[in-house]
């Protein structure tokens, strides 16, 4: 086991653990945001640079600090490593700059974007962005494209995290979309008019951190914060059949994978479950989903919110994140 200290929290982790994974084990505010890394997708990460952290001490054996900030999602923990995330002004300042870079060409069309309310870029900007913009040039624009009858691509919103490409590579047998061109005109595309048809292609929607890939069957149907996410299941021959059904009244508006507290799906689901099963009778509704503290669904329920101190070790925290989430959920579903 390796000992690593992140923002004054010390934890033991197995060899091969990245700084980000270690931070996630600690939980709370010390977890760096990750826009491109996805633990279930091999090779992902390293690109968006939002998870950059400072390694103040490389290891117990070689205590020198690392010369540059490092991508926590791709940097392995060494024994005795000391990492600063939110306790480093340099990290926070850089993160602010990265958010600015990600936003300069982003259309900021949240009012008409289906992802609003569950968008990782929105959360990131809220936590780390600056007010106003210093960018005065024309934003780059792309046309909206349907890639198949299930998924719509708004390239304007894309932050080129490559997650959907890895999804297609690792979940499907034949990838038909990819990254074309280069630099700031790089885009996700099929190049020729091409449909993405595969039983698991819908997972690209779930992994997309922004509103670049959205569910066509849910387009403009409802705001996510008006819906109640419920654990639902059915027996499915292609996937586990364990999903989140998003209900308003008796109606299922959409089906997604079940996302954990880091916005990653617990299991990938098939397109049949996602797109074709929209009747209540298709599903066994199990229980309400746990709602994240930061979720817009919990708006106006901030009463007992208290940011846990990062200076104190875990056991001394006054309110644990779990208790906190539980409270919110009790209130919402009662």
């Amino acid at each position: 086991m390796l000992k690593v200290t992140i923002d004054n929290h010390t934890i033991e982790v197995e060899e091969g653990t990245t700084i980000l994974q270690a931070a996630r084990l600690i939980g709370g505010a010390v977890v760096p945001p990750a826009m491109c890394y996805y633990s279930k997708l091999k090779e992902s990460g390293g690109k968006c640079r939002t998870c950059l952290v400072k390694v103040a001490q490389g290891s117990a054996r070689d205590p020198r600090p690392m010369p540059k900030l490092v991508a926590s999602c791709r940097t392995l923990v060494a024994d005795g490593m000391v990492v600063q995330n939110i306790t480093s002004p340099e990290v926070l300042d850089t993160r602010k700059a990265i958010v600015e870079f990600l936003l300069i060409n982003h259309p900021l069309d949240c009012p008409v974007c289906d992802q609003a309310g569950e968008c990782q870029l929105q959360d990131l900007s809220y936590d780390n962005g600056r007010e106003g913009t210093r960018f005065e040039e024309a934003k780059r624009t792309f046309k909206v494209v349907d890639i198949g009858d299930k998924i719509q691509l708004h390239m304007n919103r894309c932050i080129l995290c490559y997650r959907c490409v890895y999804t297609a590579n690792q979940l499907t047998d034949k990838r038909s979309h990819g990254i074309l061109y280069r630099g700031d005109v790089a885009e996700i595309s099929t190049y020729i008019q091409n449909d993405i048809t595969n039983d698991f292609s819908g997972n690209m929607i779930d992994v997309c951190p922004v509103g670049a890939l959205t569910d066509k069957s849910f387009r403009f149907k409802n705001r996510v914060w008006f819906l109640k996410p419920m654990n639902a299941s059915r027996s499915c021959s292609k996937c586990s059949g364990k999903v989140t059904a998003w209900l308003r009244g008796e109606e299922i508006y959409r089906v997604t994978g079940r996302k954990d507290q880091f916005d990653e799906v617990e299991e990938f689901i098939c397109n049949e479950c996602r797109f074709d099963k929209k009747e209540l009778t298709d599903w066994t509704i199990e229980s309400p989903r746990n709602i994240q503290r930061a979720s817009v669904i919990s708006q106006n329920h901030y009463l007992k919110a208290k940011n846990p101190s990062v200076i104190l070790p875990l056991e001394n925290r006054t309110v644990s994140m779990e208790d906190f989430d539980k409270e919110i959920n009790n209130e919402l579903y009662s």
């Binding site: 792309f142 494209v145 034949k174 990819g178 074309l180 005109v185 885009e187 190049y191 020729i192």
Partner: protein, 193 residues
């Protein structure tokens, strides 16, 4: 330029039957043999060069699909690569592609004026092809010949220490040759691979 790349029309497959010549197929085989078994994809860049040379100077969707088939990879893997590198042309080009260097060292030695002169002489803007289909003018980044700036490259030939007169001479010659017709295939491929 930017707009054109961003709003490119979704390219169409024409479904044309594409096949390398016998000589090219031999080259292709030889090139693939340079890489370990199972790593044939390594031959992609050289193969695209050959394909571009053989099929009208640019990479149509059909041509790229054909290369994908040869290397047993997905077409999208070819599209990804072809759109990344600046030497692959995705749209039809003229018989001669004039690549004029626009980067710093050439620019301070008169490169900008040379580009303007070419545009004026050919009545085209950067990126366009003359109406007779003879020349496509492209402004490119550093060609690695800064010591003889300003420079341009036409096909495989470098032209250095450019002046207006020199450009006149070069273009006149190429135009004359084209009129004499008999599209004499350049021998660069022989030496290239």
């Amino acid at each position: 330029m930017l707009d054109k790349r961003i709003n490119h029309p979704l390219h169409e497959k024409e479904g044309k039957e594409i096949c390398f010549s016998e000589a090219s197929l031999q080259k292709v085989e030889q090139i693939i043999s340079r890489y370990p078994k199972g790593k044939e994809k390594s031959a992609l860049l050289p193969l695209l060069h050959i394909a571009q040379e053989e099929f009208e100077g640019y990479l149509s969707v059909d041509v790229m699909d054909y290369v994908a088939k040869i290397l047993n990879i997905q077409p999208i893997e070819v599209y990804e690569v072809a759109t990344f590198y600046s030497q692959y042309y995705l749209d039809p080009v003229g018989k001669h592609v004039i690549e004029i260097c626009r980067t710093g060292p050439c620019a301070i030695c008169g490169g900008e004026a040379m580009q303007a002169y070419l545009e004026k002489k050919l009545s085209v803007k950067e990126g366009e092809t003359t109406t007779d289909g003879l020349f496509t003018l492209k402004a490119v980044e550093c060609l690695g010949a800064c010591g003889s700036a300003p420079v341009m490259q036409i096909n495989t030939e470098f032209y250095e220490h450019l002046t207006f007169e020199k450009i006149d001479q070069i273009l006149d010659e190429l135009t004359k040759k084209a009129k004499e017709a008999k599209s004499e295939k350049s021998l660069w491929k022989e030496k290239f691979f």
